[in-house]
Amino acid sequence: MHSIKKKGFGRDLKESFIKNVFKISGLLTILTLLGIFALLLYTAVPAFREIDLKEFFTSTRWDPTSPEKPEYGLLSMLVSSLLVTAGALLLAFPVGLAVAAYLSDVAKPKTREIFKPIIELLAAIPSVVIGFIGITLIGPLIARVFKMSHGLTALNGSLLLAIMALPTIISISEDALRAVPQSYAEASLAVGANHWQTLIRVKIPAAKSGIIAAFMLGMGRAIGETMTVLMATGNARSFPHGFLQSVRTLTANIAIELGEVPYFTTHYYALFALGLVLFVLTFIINLTADLIMEKQKRKLQ
């Protein structure tokens, strides 16, 4: 009796130890997310010893090295980021949804097997290559079409970001469409609707939450993109007045200035403040998408 008890205890200890090792790995993810937020916050706060909070959020001028009057206003860059993202979604959302619908409702299983890897391939193209194509191909194309002198504009950024957001929107929308119970579609067909009407009037509305989530995650992807916009949108500081203008996004600005700024100066801290804004923005977008998807999951259960 005594020896068996001992063996059991030792084994339990080992099991519990192993479980905790795995648990810690899981907890590390929470730690990392909190750590990123905390460190960004910690490094951004000193910036506001010298920068006026109101100026930071409402001024349209970002010119920390100006000999006249250094100014730290993110509004132009924020609007630029939103503008480019909006343009991207305008294109990517309908196209993405259409592709998702095609894959879930029209394509034969074998066709799906071929197209899915192709879309994954699109997602695998690095952002720097997409940006490069923006400089060499799409930019000049825009210049030709709109009879402008150059193509490094918000439109260029939007087109490229649309391509980058597509795979995300497609895969999540497709998942959402396929999660709609078969019974919904069967019922619709039974009352005489054809496949198209079933898709439009039954399946898509039923998958609404997932599709909205796909939209939001695509938005998050577009707002957070750095290299593509850095290379393709011209990086002019001015407040954007349209798609055919050169713009400078939050992400591109950080990438431009982080290399030249001496560590632990106001300018350095200010860049981390921009990073914090980006982090909070994408966090809110992702959290919203998360909550929507959870609601959907619970509904279907």
Binding site: K19, T29, L40, L103, P117, I125, Q197, Y263, N286
Partner: protein, 296 residues
């Protein structure tokens, strides 16, 4: 049924059939448009890049201000930093996935972990770069190095390795688990003998996909270790390194030898794409084979 009602019913059917035809046509159009864009991009890089590719290009260091020679240091640098990324992201990813799929019970903590994973996947790459600069370069004093860049990329890749590993674990049928437990195995023994051996191929496939993505990232390595022209390969983890995506970025935007730079940029882009496409195709094929194995 009277004739007029029959006719209107027929019209309605015709209209909706037409709607379906047009509707599905647009759906097809969408996917062919996407296909076209992909093929056109790859063709553009391929056709303009292959002229620069040669054995010299792939196996020699750059000379004469980067206008001659090749991009070997960038290939090696990318390889090295990706290795560090793998060491960080793959074991941790697998372990976290094992916890989530095998041990964790539904509850607030588990939801929080999953939330964190999804949010980490959505953090912009430049924000990872900022984090890397403050934590690895400055606080931990690793400086701009392979180590700092690799650790930064490792964190960026972690959500992907976790997700891929979890999928691999999920695809192992529960009967395998139940069988082992019925015979008296402990949880860990069951995982070790009845789950891991079948899921590791899938986990590694997912890891390869995640690493291919990391290899193409520029923003996280720009300020944590990547450099443009180094006359020697990195001799230790504390050295800076050249990298393919950063090389492409500089060649495309900053480089002074304007005439030659474009060709070299295309060549670099082609090499980068080929590596990534090969890795992705390989992983996809392996994954498809594994799926077929499971089905049978």
């Amino acid at each position: 049924m009277s004739r007029s009602i029959k006719k209107s019913k027929k019209n309605k059917l015709e209209k909706s059939a037409l709607a379906q035809l047009i509707g599905f046509f647009f759906l097809r159009l969408a996917i062919y448009a996407v296909l076209f864009v992909l093929i056109y991009f790859l063709y553009d890089i391929g056709s303009k890049g292959y002229k620069s590719i040669s054995w010299e290009f792939l196996t020699e260091a750059p000379r004469k201000g980067m206008t001659q020679g090749g991009i070997l240091p960038a290939i090696v640098g990318t390889f090295l930093v990706t290795m560090i990324t793998a060491i960080v992201a793959v074991p941790l990813g697998m372990a976290a996935a094992v916890y989530l799929n095998e041990y964790a019970r539904a509850g607030r903590l588990t939801r929080l972990i999953r939330l964190s994973i999804r949010n980490l996947a959505g953090v912009p790459s430049i924000v990872y770069g900022l984090f890397g600069v403050i934590l690895f370069v400055n606080i931990l004093k690793f400086g701009t190095s392979v180590l700092s860049a690799g650790l930064t990329l490792g964190l960026l890749t972690l959500p992907w390795t976790i997700t891929a590993s979890e999928e691999a674990l999920k695809s192992v049928p529960d009967t395998y688990r139940e069988g082992a437990l019925a015979l008296g195995a402990t949880k860990w023994q069951m995982i070790k003998t009845n789950v891991l051996p079948y899921s590791i191929p899938g986990m590694l496939t997912g890891a390869v996909l995640g690493l291919a993505r990391a290899a193409g990232e520029t923003a996280p390595i720009m300020f944590t270790g990547a450099a443009f022209y180094l006359p020697y390969l990195p001799r230790s983890l504390k050295d800076q390194f050249m990298a393919l995506p950063y090389h492409l970025y500089i060649m495309a935007t900053q480089h002074h030898a304007i005439d030659k730079a474009r060709g070299i940029a295309y060549g670099t882009a082609l090499v980068l794409i080929v590596f990534i496409v090969l890795f992705n195709l390989g992983a996809i094929i392996i994954r498809a084979r594994l799926r077929n194995k499971w089905r049978n």
